[in-house]
């Protein structure tokens, strides 16, 4: 491990971001906010990659970050389409409307 203290700090930040995102997904009912929270979780992982990569002096972390960002964009692309349909169906973006499938 190189530069232990710095990387620990960044990882604590990333972990906080990750938890914030997770809590956001849990407590928000608005699907837009859930998506934003999801993006925060993804970016927390991205931040962790950048930090780890720079700690090891490798470009791999940044490469992974690019992949993460692309994934985020792709997910959002599909997600926004679904959000529109959700809004059209229920006239709201509250995911708690979705409870037909159960049992």
């Amino acid at each position: 491990m190189v530069d232990v203290a710095l990387i620990d700090h960044v990882f604590i930040l990333a972990a906080i971001l990750f938890c914030l995102g997770l809590v956001g997904v849990l407590v928000r009912r608005n699907i837009i906010f859930m998506l934003i929270s999801m993006e925060i979780m993804l970016n927390a992982a991205g931040l962790a990659f950048i930090a780890a990569g720079s700690a090891w002096g490798q470009p791999d972390g940044q490469v992974m970050f690019l992949a993460v960002v692309t994934l985020g964009a792709a997910e959002v692309a599909v997600a926004l389409g679904l959000t529109l349909l959700l809004f059209r169906r229920y006239q709201s973006v509250d995911v708690d409307n979705l409870k037909e499938l159960r049992g």
Binding site: M1, I7, F11, A14, F18, G21, L22, V25, I31, M34, L35, M38, M41, L42, A44, A45, G46, A48, F49, A51, A52, G53, A55, W56, Q58, D60, G61, V63, M64, A67, V68, L71, A74, E75, V78, A79, G81, L82, L85, L86, R89, V95, L98, K99, E100, L101, R102, G103
Partner: protein, 490 residues
């Protein structure tokens, strides 16, 4: 990139080519038959290429991907499965009123992801593969939301799948980042001399746990399984067929490789956690299926249970005896194939009986009541699949379960073996219940359409049924193949 690497990557390039060609085609004219033929052709060509490379030894193509017997075997399995699933979907799509061609684009992208996934021995390729597959899949789950005659639950299923899948991907990624931070390596084999050996750092422990959590979601291990029944029920049934087979099998194949090559089995606490996940999967899956009335949900729960059975063999790999671990790896590979065959038949029959033009899927017991008297061929195939799922002798499912059982006994996993037996007994009940339903006298007003079964479905289903029986009676051919395929691991 050298020419040999290019040659090794050729199957993947062909699969990627399918989606590009389809996009160009769709841009200028729409034609479902042509699109389907291009897809079939691409899958067959890729499969032939993979088969042609079999036996040529391991080939590392770029640091990300490895083409060895193991990845070739599973690539082949995925391609053949996808071909069958695509053929089964043709008639269903034809009768629905949405754009059809994009389905093939999405499907070939998902297959591309799956093949990349099983060929990866590096976290980057692993992650790209799994996400390519997942993103394509949640587009496919929500594929029919636009149709005029849509099922109301499709949207719900796709939203749920998307959100949960996104959350699980984040777990997976964060886990990878933690492991990377600890060791500075992203390749599986690079971790082998590190992971679990210096246990001082909790980074890699938490990281490995988070990776397992992320994968557990994709594999619907209990308690990460909750999306499974909802998505299976809500998705159009051809998509469910694909989701239940290709995505499960590819992720399971790679988790086996990851655990063996990275030495993650040395993390004893994690293995202990896996034992409890396996116990829960077998019990909860079967318990939820017990009185389930919706066939798609029933199959979802049963697939949870089957993934639990698979875990018995998976955990048995952790043992120290080399012969036993080889047996366990073989058992997982064999059971995966068996699981594909059985599930594909079951979902294929639901696909065949469904009527998308009325936004109705053959998912209630009423659809199956008296099927033996109305459509004896389909009912026989369904009966075979159910018997195989229940693990009745002379079917592929029995041999698979026997294999898993043997692996569990050899690894002395008595708890897991015991639960496996209890789970199988519970399973017998609901599979036979469905068979009995098919044997009953039909309702006066049959719920299923009286249409002729399309040729494509008939061919695929009889081929699968034949495989189910032939491997059930002569399993040695597959056993030899599996044996050769898994020998490269470790």
């Amino acid at each position: 990139m050298t020419m040999t690497e290019l040659h090794a990557l050729l199957p993947i390039i062909v699969i990627a080519g399918i989606s590009v060609v389809l996009m160009v085609m769709t841009a200028f004219f729409r034609h479902q038959r042509l699109a389907s033929l291009i897809t079939y052709g691409g899958f067959i060509a890729a499969a032939v290429l993979v088969a042609g490379q079999t036996g040529s030894g391991p080939q590392q193509a770029t640091p990300l991907l490895i083409m060895d017997e193991y990845s070739r075997f599973f690539s082949l399995v995925i391609l053949v499965t996808s071909l069958a699933a695509t053929m089964l979907a043709y008639d269903y799509l034809r009768r629905s009123d949405v754009f059809k061609e994009e389905y093939y684009i999405l499907l070939s992208l998902a297959v591309l992801g799956a093949v990349v996934l099983v060929s990866s021995n590096h976290f980057a390729a692993f992650f790209i593969g799994i996400e390519l597959m997942s993103v394509s899949l949640f587009a496919m789950v929500g594929y029919m939301v636009q149709g005029r005659t849509r099922r109301a639950v499709t949207l719900e299923a796709s939203v749920k799948y998307m959100i949960l899948s996104g959350v699980s991907s984040s777990f997976l990624l964060f886990g990878i980042a933690l492991v990377y931070a600890d060791f500075g390596v992203l390749s599986f084999s690079g971790l082998h001399s590190l992971l679990g050996l210096h246990s001082t750092s909790s980074y890699s422990q938490i990281g490995a746990a988070m990776i397992v959590v992320g994968l557990a979601f994709k594999l619907s291990w209990v308690p990460f399984h909750m999306w499974t029944p909802d998505v299976y029920e809500g998705a159009p049934v051809p998509v469910t067929a694909f989701l239940a087979t290709v995505s499960k099998v590819s992720v399971f194949a790679i988790i086996v490789r990851f655990f063996i090559e990275s030495g993650a089995f040395r993390l004893e606490a994690l293995v202990q956690a896996l034992v409890w996940i396996a116990v829960l999967s077998m019990l909860v899956g079967n318990g939820l299926a017990l009185l389930q009335q919706n066939i798609k949900r029933l199959l979802a729960y049963s697939s949870i249970a089957h993934l639990g059975y698979l875990m018995v063999a998976f955990i048995a790999i952790a043992g120290s005896n080399l012969a036993n671990t080889n047996l366990a790896v073989e058992a997982t590979a064999f059971y995966l194939v068996a699981y594909i065959v059985m599930s594909l038949i079951a979902f294929g029959i639901i696909t065949t009986l469904s009527s998308p033009e009325r936004a109705e899927e053959a998912e209630t017991l009423a659809h199956f009541r008296g099927l033996f008297w109305q459509k004896p061929g389909l009912a026989t195939a369904m009966g075979l699949a159910l018997l195989s799922l229940a693990g009745i002798p002379l079917t592929i499912g029995f041999v698979g379960k026997f294999y898993v059982f043997a692996a569990g006994v050899a690894g002395q996993l008595w708890l897991l073996v015991g639960v496996l037996i209890v789970g199988s007994a519970l399973g017998l009940y609901y599979y036979l219940r469905l068979i009995m339903e098919m044997c009953k006298a039909p309702d006066t007003e049959p719920a299923i359409s009286r249409e002729e079964t399309p040729l494509e479905n008939r061919v695929v289903l009889s081929a699968l049924g034949l495989v189910l029986l032939v491997i059930g009676i002569f399993p040695n051919g597959l056993i030899t193949t599996v044996h050769a395929a898994v020998a490269v691991l470790r």
